[in-house]
């Protein structure tokens, strides 16, 4: 059997996502792998599980992604500034290229999400109530749809919806209960496969 067949068959077998996660390794064990803490035998066990479980592999990958921040923290001050600048320049280049790229043929490796751009401008400020339940933002050029998210201060997701409109009416159930602060943001999914994320805005929820 050729190596590419082994790879394909193995990946086919490892795309299963368990219905329950009772047998999965705890998130802390996945973090131990990333930070190389604890006995090697335990870390190997976690890796072996994660490489056979699509959910744990994705979670390991999320934790591994934080390594980019950690590795940068090890650079000398000048090196950090330089590396950060390079990443920023690379991000801006992707932004410019994304604008000029034809709509077809965008693959995953080249797709890009741009964050904190003025391209998605949030309008609603202040208080959301029964009289004014709408979150409103400006239309983004090239947007096929928008993902709206509203979260509590502790990060709990209150509501998330996808719409082609630039208005989202927050359901009464979300505003029920005592007055509370929340945060909202909008991600514009563009027709060329890229995304633009708005800044985060604080809002007051009242029934």
């Amino acid at each position: 059997m050729k190596e590419e067949d082994l790879v394909r068959l193995y990946q086919r077998g490892a795309t299963r996502r368990p219905a329950a996660r009772a047998d999965c390794v705890p998130p802390e064990a996945l973090l131990d792998v990333v930070e190389q803490r604890g006995p090697e035998a335990a870390r190997l066990e976690s890796v072996n599980h994660a490489m056979a479980c699509a959910d744990c592999r994705e979670e390991l990958e999320l934790l591994r992604a934080t390594r980019i921040v950690r590795d940068r923290a090890r650079l000398p001050r000048f090196g950090f500034a330089l590396a950060a600048s390079l990443v920023l320049v690379a991000g801006l280049s992707f932004y410019t290229l994304g604008r000029n790229r034809p709509a077809s043929g965008a693959d995953d490796d080249r797709a890009v999400t741009r964050s904190g751009s003025d391209d998605v401008q949030l309008i609603t400020t202040g208080v959301l109530s029964g009289q004014t339940p709408n979150l409103v933002w400006r239309r983004t050029s090239g947007a096929a749809s928008y993902v709206v998210e509203l979260r509590r201060e502790d990060g709990t997701l209150l509501t998330r919806d996808t719409t082609a409109d630039t208005v989202f009416a927050v359901p009464d159930s979300v505003r029920a209960g005592p007055d509370a602060d929340a945060y909202w943001a909008v991600t514009a999914r563009l027709s060329d496969g890229t995304s633009v994320v708005s800044s985060v805005r604080r809002i007051r929820l009242t029934p």
Binding site: L62, R70, A73, F80
Partner: protein
Amino acid sequence: MPRSPDAVSGTLESLLLRHRESVLRVGRRHGLSDQLLDEAMQELRIRLWRAFPGSDQLAAVSPGYLYRAAVTAALMVIRRRRAKRESGVEMTPRFEETTPAREPRPDQAFDESELAERLARTVDELPAARQAVVRLHLQGYHRDEIARLLGWSEARTRNLLYRGLDDLRALLAKRGIGPGASV
């Protein structure tokens, strides 16, 4: 005097932008979904927003602090996702679960499924270290990524990978899954 929320949010977004593109490019190769990453970034945003109400403070956040905050945000999102699964909350279907890349013939699909199952059982039999490096390799991790993740030298990683793949082929051959297996 405290800055306006928009000034803080501009500083916060440029801080996150430094890392987001790199994370996306690296993470997507190994199955990290935009949805999970978006949730983690949002969690991190909120944490930083609450911890640093002024944009001047935010601009001076150390990379060490940012790393710990990113790890905490990632762990929080993972725990929340697991809790949702346990409580039976419907998860958004994933792309690979809703969009089959290519429909194989029914007989071919059965053969591949059976072979994939037998391959998985055979990999389980490898010693732990060889098993880990072989699994990572078969999942598409480069050798230097494997070495970094496991904290091994390049030479140790290479040796264990070659030996592990040899062991795997030998075990598969014993089960009649050799070079001639139809896949």
